[in-house]
């Protein structure tokens, strides 16, 4: 069963009770061991690959050298024939024949090294994928466990506060109300500030004898006199 399914099953099974572990306590250890094993395989495969690739290079150089020698000797043989030295040509031909059989052996070795290198490269890739996969799964197990433990700590803490008594809507209402109050206060402060500045301006105007003046007794009397006329 995949770790994903294991976690789902454990959660659905109600393993959310305090103290109960969602994932088998051994699971973490097993994953860590599997990661270590896979990493060991990886190191070994990489080391082997280096060795095989070195052999492959040396073998490839040998093949090239033999091929060159064959071409060289073929040239010699033709020259010997041109000179009519049949015996020398035969000796060269024998040498070529020996080189050709050596070439065939070397070529076989080279093919086998190439095959090995290819196989090891695939192994390295596969092991790398596996290590990454185990690490991802381990992270899932650890996160699940830690969330579960954190949740139980939070739940314990919640019981001592009244936060859990509020429904989501009530919480939202209260937060909005607080926000509204804050906004109102800000607005009130702004209004007050502007009024204050108006007042001070008025006072300055009055001082300068501009704008509305106080209704004093004299002005009332003036008004009454004006009415009598």
């Amino acid at each position: 069963m995949s770790i994903f399914k294991k976690i789902m099953t454990a959660i659905r099974g109600g393993a959310t009770e305090v103290g109960e572990s969602i994932v088998d306590a051994n699971a973490t250890r097993i994953f860590e061991q599997e990661i270590r094993d896979a990493e060991n395989h990886l190191t070994k495969a990489k080391r082997e690959l280096t060795g095989v690739m070195a052999q492959q290079m040396s073998s490839s150089r040998d093949v090239d050298r033999i091929k060159r020698e064959i071409i060289e000797h073929e040239g010699y043989a033709v020259q010997a024939l041109e000179k009519g030295d049949e015996a020398l040509a035969l000796a060269v031909a024998e040498k070529i024949s020996a080189l050709e059989s050596e070439l065939s052996t070397q070529q076989q070795a080279l093919d086998s090294f190439e095959g090995n290198a290819q196989r090891l490269k695939e192994l390295v890739k596969k092991s790398e994928r596996q290590v990454a996969e185990y690490k991802r799964q381990l992270s899932m197990v650890k996160t699940t466990e830690s969330v579960q433990k954190a949740t139980s700590a939070i739940t314990d803490n919640f019981s001592s506060s009244n936060s859990k008594l509020l429904s989501a809507k009530d919480s939202l209402e209260r937060i909005k109300a607080k926000q509204q109050k804050f906004d109102d206060r800000m607005k009130a402060a702004e209004v007050l500030e502007s009024e204050n500045s108006d007042n001070s301006l008025e006072a300055k105007l009055k001082e300068a004898g501009i704008g509305a003046t106080n209704n004093n007794a004299n002005s009332v009397l003036e008004r009454l006199k004006a009415k009598q006329k």
Binding site: V147, A150, A168
Partner: protein, 137 residues
């Protein structure tokens, strides 16, 4: 990075935060250390932060299964799935009977990244309760 260095950072931030939010941190001890973070004015929706080997997990509880109107469960689930990608940085989940919104950050994140995450998470939580209120009692 652990919850105590994060708490120190957020507490010293006070009014200087880029997000315009004031955070108050309270560590909760347990098998796994959890940091309870409240945003000033939003005390009803605290954020819980835990730090593991490879990630920083920020979770806010939204509502309980029992708060969902009968017959509305499916519609709500579909709406939540549809909202999951457009919603910036946060995703939905369910822990036990509680629906949550969460964000996960790499352990290599800076304090500034986490501060940003917390602000976005808090805003998302408020908005999503508002958006989903038709489905809730």
């Amino acid at each position: 990075m652990n919850i105590h260095t994060l708490a120190d950072y957020l507490n010293t931030l006070a009014d200087e935060s880029d997000t315009g939010m004031v955070f108050d941190c309270q560590p909760i001890s347990g098998e796994v250390d959890v940091l309870q973070i409240t945003v000033l004015g939003r005390e009803e929706l605290p954020i819980f932060v835990s730090v593991t080997d490879d990630q920083v997990l920020c979770i806010t509880y939204l509502w309980d299964k029992s708060e969902v109107k009968e017959n509305k469960m499916n519609d709500m689930h579909v709406s939540m799935l549809e909202m999951n990608i457009p919603m910036p940085l946060s995703s939905f989940s369910k822990i036990g009977d509680k629906y949550v919104i969460f964000g996960a950050l790499a352990i290599s994140s800076t304090f500034n990244d986490i501060e940003h995450e917390l602000a976005v998470l808090s805003n998302n939580a408020l908005e999503i309760i508002d958006d989903m209120s038709d489905y809730l009692i």
